[in-house]
Amino acid sequence: MALYSEKVMDHFTNPRNVGKIDDADGIGEVGNAKCGDIMKIYLKIENDIIVDVKFNTFGCGSAIASSSMATEMIKGKPLSQALELTNKAVAEALDGLPAHKMHCSVLAEEAIRAAIKDYYDKHGIAYDKTQFPDPHDEEEEKHDFNED
């Protein structure tokens, strides 16, 4: 399919780490149903290492593929590395996303940060607040408009 790379289609049709973690240490949810995508990430953390990660996503093909790829990229990694994951890295790992779908990779990055922040908050762990800017402060992603 021309719209998406083979990697995107692979992660969309066979998503990795789909599901929930009942006793998750941190949960992050971003996006909203009105805009058509919500991503929810569950983390299991031991000694600052993400030992397990699962996601549930309501959204388009690239939103599901971005969730799948992002969770793969942080699984087994220390929190410090997970916090360094950028949306660009997720998109690159998927062999690129169409321009108007880049916000899906942004959601994945934000969902992971939100889950880590939730873990810190729940466990009373001190952290640098500047590491977690409110995503809503950022400018709204603009989509290209093309009609058939």
Binding site: M9, V18, G36, N56, I64
Partner: protein, 397 residues
């Protein structure tokens, strides 16, 4: 892929054998320019005339009331701008339309609003229909044009066109209809339907892409959109696309001949498909169930997003369409579904299946078997569905 079930005929159709056969002579054997006075040119001119006559017969108008265009969008632009200019000359700068027209109409109206026109967009209600009385009530002394689509491209609802036309005739207001989804599928009769201007597109009824036509009642002024020649009675310059025009005329003739038979068969398949898909919990049919195109099914499934639904159906060989934001390429879901009053989150989960004569009972059975599985899977990974099910979010359908 094991099989392909094409159910996106509102987007485009496969060409019919008759339409293809009607086109082929004009690529090599009859290649003349109809404007040339020699024999080779005049043979092409005869083909052009014959096509125009066929089209006119199907629509019940005179051949000289048919103007060939590049398609439905061009026809919409030309008709609406012509009527608007005509009105403006008399100081009439008010237009009546609906909120769920095709963008070829809506974007033209937006431009006209920027140019000083005022547009009333009639509510299409939750069933996707307007009434002639609502049109009558909206007409003002300065109304220049009423433009209302014959049948909607997404939800398939069919407007009471002849009644609206009668109201416009009585009020002496020009009535244009975008009949792109209707021509070749419904018995469109410009005289009986009181239509002054109409747009159509060949590829929606098994003709070729890139060609369409407009009907403009004689006596009404038509703007020249493309300058540079005397083609189309001086209203659209450029050497005619004879192959395309001949293919379109053949396709329309064929469609009109089998209208009743197709309608009966398609309606039966459509009803079966709707019944089958409505069994999915928290699903709804969009648009009036009865007053709709016989091949149109448009559903919403709560808790899922349309693009992922489309892609997974495509992997199963089912080619459909959706009104979700991701498929429209904009931030908002389909303006048609929003015009019906659907909330954004519901409109994102829409699926349009538009059937053609090529679809079989087996196709319908396959779709009814596969769609619920995909919906169920997407719901199983959807945080929205989880909230709907555990009660933290209210079901809307």
């Amino acid at each position: 892929m094991a099989r392909t079930i094409y159910v996106d005929n509102a987007a485009t159709t496969a060409m019919s054998d008759k339409a293809i056969a009607a086109m082929t002579p004009y690529f090599k054997e009859i290649y003349g320019n109809p404007s040339s006075l020699h024999t080779v040119g005049q043979v092409a001119k005869e083909a052009l005339d014959a096509a125009r006559e066929k089209m006119a017969k199907c629509l019940n108008c005179e051949p000289r009331e048919i103007y060939f265009t590049s398609g439905g969008s061009e026809a919409d632009n030309q008709c609406i701008r012509s009527a608007a200019l005509q009105g403006a000359k008399k100081g009439k700068k008010h237009i009546i339309s609906t909120a769920f027209e095709h963008h070829a109409v809506l974007h033209t109206l937006k431009k006209l609003e920027e140019e000083g026109f005022e547009v009333t967009y009639l509510d299409v209600h939750s069933n996707g229909l307007v009434t002639a009385e609502e049109v009558r009530a909206a007409i003002r002394p300065d109304t220049a044009l009423v433009t209302i689509m014959y049948a909607n491209n997404e939800v398939g609802t069919i407007q009471p066109i002849s009644e609206i036309g009668a109201v416009c005739r009585e009020a002496k207001v020009i009535f244009h209809t975008d009949a792109v989804q209707a021509v070749g599928h419904l018995p469109v009769d410009v005289r009986a339907d009181n239509i002054d201007m109409l747009s159509l597109s060949a590829h929606k009824f098994h003709g070729p892409k890139g060609v369409g036509a407009l009907y403009c009642k004689k006596g009404l002024p038509l703007l020249t959109f493309i300058e540079g020649g005397a083609q189309e009675r001086g209203k659209r310059a450029g050497t005619e696309n004879i192959a395309g025009i001949s293919g379109m005329a053949a396709a329309l003739e064929e469609s009109c001949q089998s209208l009743d038979k197709n309608a009966e068969n398609l309606t039966r398949l459509r009803e079966k498909l709707i019944d089958g898909l409505l069994k999915i919990p928290h699903s709804r049919l969009n648009g009036d169930r009865v007053k709709r195109l016989c091949g149109n099914v448009n559903m919403c499934f709560e808790g899922i997003e349309g693009e992922s639904l489309l892609l997974l159906l495509d992997a199963k060989g089912i080619c459909a369409s959706s009104g979700s934001a991701c498929t429209s390429g904009s931030l908002d879901p389909s303006h048609v579904l929003l015009a019906l009053g659907l909330p954004h989150e519901v409109a994102h989960g829409s699926l349009r299946l538009s059937l053609s004569e090529a679809n079989t009972e087996e196709d319908i059975d396959y779709i009814i078997a596969e769609v619920p599985k995909v919906v169920e899977y997407l719901r199983s990974i959807s945080p929205v569905w989880e909230e709907l099910e555990n009660g933290t979010r209210k079901h809307l359908i």
